[in-house]
């Protein structure tokens, strides 16, 4: 058992941390809130140069061939610094499933562009119902000759406004089981018939509505097998759940630290407010929650990294992250008093991202149901020992 990172991992963390602290101080975050693109292309270029977009991509496709741990650490630090970039959609939502499900040709063509050139990708799954399971996907892709024709619309597609390419999940066949008949398409964001509008959201992570009006997609642009797209979606959700939870864990840690620091400095009734039990005990509960979340994320990541992912742990990590992140932000702000509610303090910047993060890769109800499904399948030890 080992609850620590290796020295190499600590070094990676240190360099990422320093990069973000230098390149993305909170003033930059505030500045990017008003930016139309929602990210800083110069910073993005630097990230690409440092190999960050290729962290989990093998060397043969232009990446640095890191472990899952490397990207996990990266996401934690990103969450700690709330860095606005198209990293998550590009790398987690798109590059990772392409690496897993792509044909050799697709991988050779696409992955180096992401790893070496920082090509931006976006992932389109959610629709008007905002359901995260397969039943929420109704957009149709009809086959016509060698091509498919996409019609319908997608919502909350992050950074689609600046994406070159899209992964789009659509329904190619009707089936009783909604998880059947789905197909994932690689779609050129500039293709005819694709219209993109930015939806104003509090996280300013460039959520877009994408409308597809008779968009032609060649058959070669299918990722994975036609009709078996749910396997790809599921892979994306499982991995994104853990990495989004890592981002949230980093953010929750930062919020806790900010608040504890404030509770030591701020005095009322001639005492630091942290000496009042109402404040102190809540901070203690926050500490426990934050530490718990951190290790739950690591535990899920450890299973992925060692090649035996646990659906149960992945869902636990995300379900916990959803709850903890909000509670820590809410109570953190309230403990600050009025100043915590202003844009002068950093804490609000974290809270603005709560709902965006919650819905990426699955909200709590959704993951709780997945956990229950795993419990249904499991066999308790007390029955097996004496069996």
């Amino acid at each position: 058992m080992d609850f620590s990172f290796t020295k190499d991992q600590e070094l990676i963390r240190k360099s990422i941390k320093e990069f973000f602290e230098k390149e993305c101080p909170k003033d930059k975050v505030r500045e990017l809130k008003e930016d139309k693109k929602g990210y800083d292309p110069k910073m993005w270029k630097k990230m690409v140069k440092l190999g960050y977009t290729g962290l989990v991509i093998p060397e043969e496709y232009g990446g640095t061939e890191g472990e899952f741990w490397d990207i996990l650490i990266f996401m934690e630090e990103m969450g700690r610094n709330i860095v606005p970039t198209p990293y998550f959609p590009t790398v987690v939502f798109c590059a990772m499933p392409i690496l897993e499900f792509g044909t050799e040709a697709q991988k050779k063509k696409i992955l180096p562009k992401i790893a070496e050139k920082g090509e931006i990708w976006a992932y389109a799954q959610i629709e008007e119902s905002s359901e995260q399971d397969a039943s929420g996907i109704t957009m149709s892709a009809a086959m016509s000759g060698e091509d498919y024709t996409l019609n319908g619309s997608k919502l909350f597609v992050s950074y689609a406004n600046v994406a070159n390419q899209l992964l789009v999940v659509a329904r190619t066949a009707e089936a009783e089981n909604p998880e059947e008949g789905l197909t994932v398409f690689i779609v050129d964001a500039g293709a005819e018939g694709v219209v993109c509008d930015v939806i104003p959201t509090t996280a300013r992570d460039m959520r877009c509505e994408l409308r597809f009006d008779n968009v032609k997609v060649p058959r070669d642009n299918i990722l994975g097998e036609p009709g078996k797209g749910w396997a790809v979606v599921d892979y994306i959700q499982q991995h994104a759940a853990v990495l989004k939870a890592a981002e949230m864990s980093g953010g929750a840690h930062a919020v806790l630290n900010i608040t504890v620091k404030y509770a030591k400095e701020r005095k009322q009734f001639d005492k630091p407010i942290g000496s009042f039990q109402a404040i102190q005990h809540r901070l203690v509960d926050m500490l426990t929650e934050v530490e718990e979340l951190q290790y739950l994320v690591y535990k899920a990541a450890w299973r992925i990294n060692s090649g035996s992912p646990s659906r149960r742990l992945n869902s636990i990590a995300k379900a916990k992250a959803n709850g903890v992140y909000h509670r820590v932000c809410y109570h953190g702000i309230v403990m600050h008093g009025a100043i915590g509610w202003t844009e002068e303090m950093d804490i609000g910047l974290y809270h603005l991202r709560t709902r965006s993060m919650e819905f990426d890769a699955g909200n709590t109800d959704y993951h709780n149901d997945l956990i229950a499904s795993e419990l249904e399948k499991s066999e308790p030890e007390f029955l097996t020992l004496f069996a």
Partner: protein, 398 residues
């Protein structure tokens, strides 16, 4: 036991609803706290204030001779409810003037002050808009530790210092300010005074303090050798703490309309789940039911507090109990409502585009408003301190 309003109150309610039908567009509900943010909405609010003043509703609890309608606590409850449910703007003109400046001046202001300031408020005049300068950077919950100095100089006072969290300062003509007129005191509660500061004074600057969503509600006020005439002292010099406590007591009941706002927001949510069929889902049903029960409870307690006031039975703790209760309700509503709205709950409430925003963006608004609500007018914990001391007679815990 009787949980019904009387005939008089119900008739008043009908009259208000007629007013609403005529003057208040209902497609824009839910922009809580936004009244003072934009010039446009402020102007509209002030136009409604004028109309309310004509009805004597702007200052309905005031005695008739001061331009009020001498409303009972119950009528005030009805009015607050309708304001909350229909989102009637302009009601407080920044709250301070109608809620406590006017009543305080009646109680311990000079006749000259009464004659100068009160009619402007009651008339819904732009010169009747007030803000309140209590909080300072280092004194929030601990109000008595305030440091803004106010030194007599002949016929004037000279004020130096800083106020913070001043809502509506950017819309106000006057500031109702607590200052320190004597700093050589043993107890920090001594040596305080209340003064009226002209917001157009030389040396006074207002700096917007936007909230983290971008809403301009709070301000800082910087005072550098600001001079006010001695006649702007309210009540006795150095007796400010007592006056302050009296003024604060008028703040009670400000939260009255909150449960009606909750009612409206919950009604909107229920209606949305009916329209979309979401109400058939088990988890949606459980969440709606829990909110319904909490809201029914909060509302009933709020009524009880008013009934006690009306009948002279009020103990001091009920408004604090209800504020803390409503803080928790707002938080739960914002969370459950967001859960029900799903991914749509991430929309920016300040740019609630009807193309995407569900229910006019009110839940997105609430989600980010509710930590602010829990802080405003005494944090939830401060309210609990008050209830502990006065409701349970427990020793001070802070």
């Amino acid at each position: 036991m009787d949980f019904q309003f009387g005939k008089k109150e119900e008739e008043f309610r009908s009259e208000i609803r007629e007013f609403v039908k005529e003057h208040i567009p209902q497609n824009e509900y839910g922009h809580m706290f936004e009244e003072e943010h934009e010039d446009k909405s402020w102007e509209f609010s002030m136009s409604i204030a004028k109309k309310l003043a004509q009805k004597r509703w702007l200052t309905l609890t005031w005695p008739k001779e001061f331009g009020g309608m001498g409303a009972s606590f119950m009528e005030r409850l009805v009015f607050s409810e309708e304001v909350g449910y229909w989102g009637i703007p302009g009601v407080g003109m920044g709250v301070s003037g109608t809620a406590w400046v006017g009543p305080s001046l009646m109680l311990f202001g000079t006749k000259e002050q009464q004659e100068k300031y009160i009619p402007l408020i009651a008339a819904g005049d732009p010169d009747g808009v007030w803000c309140t300068g209590y909080s300072e950077p280092d004194s929030g919950s601990d109000l008595a530790s305030l440091q803004t100095s106010c030194v007599r100089d002949g016929d004037e006072y000279i004020i130096n210092g800083q106020k913070v969290w001043t809502s509506a300062a950017h819309r106000s003509r006057w500031c109702w300010m607590a200052v320190r007129t004597d700093s050589n005191v043993k107890k920090k509660h001594h040596g305080l005074s209340l003064v009226i500061v002209d917001m157009k004074s030389e040396g006074l600057t207002v700096r917007p303090l936007k909230n983290y969503v971008g809403l301009h509600y709070f301000n800082e006020i910087f005072l550098s050798d600001v001079r006010i005439p001695v006649e702007n002292l309210v009540g006795q010099e150095n007796n400010g703490w007592n006056h302050l406590m009296q003024a604060l007591s008028f703040e009670r009941g400000v939260a009255l309309g909150f449960t009606a706002s909750c009612r409206r927001m919950l009604d909107e949510l229920i209606n949305h789940t009916k329209e979309t069929g979401l109400i058939k889902k088990t988890l949606v049903r459980q969440r709606l039911a829990e909110l319904e029960a909490d809201l029914e409870g909060a509302r009933t307690l709020a009524y009880e507090a008013v009934w006690k006031m009306e009948n002279g039975l009020s103990r001091i703790y009920e408004p604090s109990r209800d504020k803390a209760n409503v803080d928790l309700l707002f938080e739960k509503m914002s969370r459950f409502g967001s859960d029900i709205l799903g991914a749509f709950s991430q929309l920016d409430p300040l740019h609630a585009d009807p193309r995407w925003a569900k229910i006019g963006g009110i839940y997105e608004n609430l989600f980010h408003a509710c930590p602010g609500i829990a802080i405003a007018a005494g944090t939830t914990d401060t309210q609990r301190n008050i209830v502990g001391q006065f409701g349970l007679q427990l020793p001070r815990s802070y």
